[in-house]
């Protein structure tokens, strides 16, 4: 008979599963609340200057770490601009470069690649997407960084900036290149799936109008795949933003803001984004003010990734009007 009450009744199962699902929201709320609660002292002591520049970030962090044990003497002074700037720079370069690269690769795989090449390329892309970041970091630090340090950076360049920072090869260049390679496979996979899902009738209709294959792919398929491209870009940005280990190994361990006015040297200057800073300073968390400062970094990252999800959702909405379904 149908149990209306009893341990496995529909109502009870629905309620308990619903509670489980709602607990995800609770978790996110708790995450925001706890991280901000712990991070608050660092923000409140610095005010808006927390986001500004001024002084050597590493030295400031050192001072915080060496704070005397008396709570009222704790040091919080921090101007995190170099790290924020490094984060934005690395992410922007990687996402823009990666998106263009991924789009071209995806169009190639779907439309122009010869059959044999496609059969190799598709599983290879999926595999690359699964490679752990520490492996990318290892290859970077053992191969690319020494190569750049010894062969691409001349002695004169090193001497020119020696009073500010050491150029040893771990740099913006290597960091952004490896980051681009890291985020491209995911974007390629998503865009390929979306391009394949474009209705055949549109492609046939466009071809029947005498439009060549390249134009058909770009004006019809890529256009129809725009929601997926946005989703891929958001995903890739989230990953680039949060990439800690690989960049800690490869972009430099100095909280330095690369200066575009330095010309070519700009590419070779080291930098360290927020996520990598957290990893680098993971041992010192037991010192309370230091821990709170590190939690402040995590809070900024959290807010950024929430804002990113929101931006992705907002960007997809206008596309529905013209009949582009989203993923």
């Amino acid at each position: 008979m149908i149990p209306v009450r009893g341990p496995w009744s529909d109502r009870r199962v629905e309620r308990s599963l619903g509670a489980l699902a709602a607990s995800v929201l609770l978790l996110i709320g708790a995450m925001v609340a706890f991280v901000f609660a712990k991070a608050w002292p660092s923000f409140s002591h610095n005010g808006l200057a927390w986001f500004g520049g001024g002084g050597n970030v590493d030295r400031q962090l050192g001072a915080i770490f060496d704070s005397p044990s008396n709570p009222s003497d704790w040091i919080y002074t921090l101007h995190a601009w170099p790290m924020l700037y490094g984060t934005v720079l690395l992410t922007a370069i990687a996402v823009v470069g990666g998106l263009v690269f991924a789009l071209l690769c995806a169009v190639f795989i779907v439309e122009f690649a010869p059959e044999r090449m496609r059969r190799v390329l598709e599983p290879a892309v999926r595999l690359l997407a699964a490679v752990p970041s520490v492996v990318y970091g290892l290859i970077g630090i053992l191969v690319l960084v020494p190569f750049v340090g010894e062969h691409l950076i001349g002695e004169r360049m090193k001497a020119a900036v020696a009073y500010v920072v050491q150029l040893d090869g771990s740099s913006l260049l290597v960091g952004s290149m490896v980051l681009t390679v890291m985020i491209t496979p995911i974007m390629v996979a998503i865009v390929v799936d979306a391009l394949r899902a474009v209705p055949r009738s549109w492609i046939d209709g466009a071809a029947a109008l005498g439009v060549n294959r390249w134009r058909v792919v770009w004006t019809i398929s890529v256009r129809a795949a725009r929601p997926a491209i946005v989703a891929a870009a958001v995903l890739a940005t989230a990953r680039a933003l949060g990439e800690a280990i690989m960049l800690a190994m490869v972009a430099g361990s100095v909280g330095f803001a690369p200066n575009p006015l330095d010309g070519l040297t700009f590419l070779f200057e080291p930098t360290r984004p927020l996520a990598a800073t957290i990893v680098d300073n993971a041992e010192g968390l037991s010192v309370v003010p230091f821990g709170q400062t590190v939690y402040a970094f995590a809070a900024v990252l959290l807010v950024s990734s929430l804002a990113l999800s929101l931006a992705g959702w907002a960007a997809k909405r206008p596309m529905r009007r013209y009949g582009l379904a989203s993923r």
């Binding site: 549109w202 209709g205 029947a208 109008l209």
Partner: protein
């Protein structure tokens, strides 16, 4: 609901609604009906039950395309077997036949759309204005020979962008809106859609009704000024009203464009075609003027098909 009439009670107590075999049937009763009858709107002025009158085209009929011994195979299977046909401007050529007889494949080969299928291969010659279509650049060919598909397939863009699509994606420079607007308007007028959409050309095309979408596809095909227009069962997904509108516009178009239409609907072919080609299992069974194929078909199979013996 009507008012109920009691069957009269007969004198001997028998019920009158059960007729005895020896008695004459009861007289007809008049039933009064309460409800007002629902008024069916009269068909629009100009539409008649007779087939659309075909006027003699003024420019005269001239041959635009020619198929010679065309054979198309998908892998091993022969879809079209040794078909030779002319396609003339100034007339409508209807390809009729049961499902799977190859008429759609034949149509698609006229603008080399069959090449999009990997297993297709073709024998024989198709020529456009005495030039082999193989020798032409395929994008060029498709601009001169345009196609409208069975299911309306407007792109996910506005109406204007849909019609202007073929014009925009043609060369190195994209023409500006000022250049495109009059051409778009002309194409929409030829397709009989302009009056309905003129006030908002930025309206998303996918939000139009089925008939309007199909007319939009026709406008899109006409915008590139083709010499031949191919229609693959364009009205099969539409209601009778839209079908009639599209049939009228096809007849209007045939003066400037050679029209080839594939249709499942014999009545439609009867209404609008000037010449008819009947295909069966890939072979061309009969070809001739519409009056002759429908009125006095020569081949036995044509006679059977036209009479509805199979379909």
């Amino acid at each position: 609901m009507g008012s109920l009439i009691e069957p009269p009670q007969r004198a001997d107590g028998e019920r009158a609604d059960v007729a005895s075999p020896l008695e004459p049937p009861p007289p007809v009763r008049r039933i009064a009906v309460d409800a007002t009858p629902r008024r069916v709107s009269s068909p629009p002025a100009g539409a008649s039950a007779e087939p659309v009158r075909r006027r003699q085209p003024t420019t005269g009929v001239r041959e635009r395309m020619r198929l010679e011994h065309l054979t198309i195979r998908y892998g091993e299977k022969v879809a079209v077997d040794d078909v030779s046909l002319p396609v003339r401007q100034g007339e409508v050529l209807a390809l009729i036949g049961p499902s799977g007889c190859g008429k759609t494949t034949l149509l698609r080969s006229l603008n080399r759309l069959t090449e999009l299928t990997p297993t297709a291969s073709r024998d024989g010659v198709i020529s456009l204005d005495a030039q082999d279509v193989e020798a032409l650049e395929v994008t060029d060919l498709r601009r001169r020979v345009s196609m409208v598909f069975q299911q309306p397939n407007p792109f996910p863009m506005s109406i204007f962008d849909n019609v202007a699509y073929g014009l925009r994606e043609q060369g190195t420079k994209r023409p500006g809106r000022a250049v495109l607007a009059p051409q778009v308007e002309e194409a929409l007028r030829r397709a009989g859609l302009f009056d309905e959409v003129a006030d908002d050309l930025a309206h998303p095309a996918l939000r139009l009704s089925g008939g309007q979408q199909q007319r939009l596809c026709i406008a899109r095909a006409l915008a590139v000024r083709p010499e031949v227009l191919l229609l693959d069962e364009p009205c099969s997904a539409l209601d009778p009203r839209s079908t009639q509108t599209i049939e009228e516009l096809i007849v209007r178009l045939r003066e400037d464009v050679a029209v080839v239409i594939v249709t499942h609907n014999l009545q439609q072919a009867f209404r609008i075609a000037d010449h008819v080609a009947f295909m069966y299992l890939g072979e061309l069974v009969e070809y001739g003027p519409a009056d002759q194929v429908f009125g006095a078909p020569r081949a036995k199979r044509t006679r059977e098909y036209v009479a509805g013996a199979f379909g």
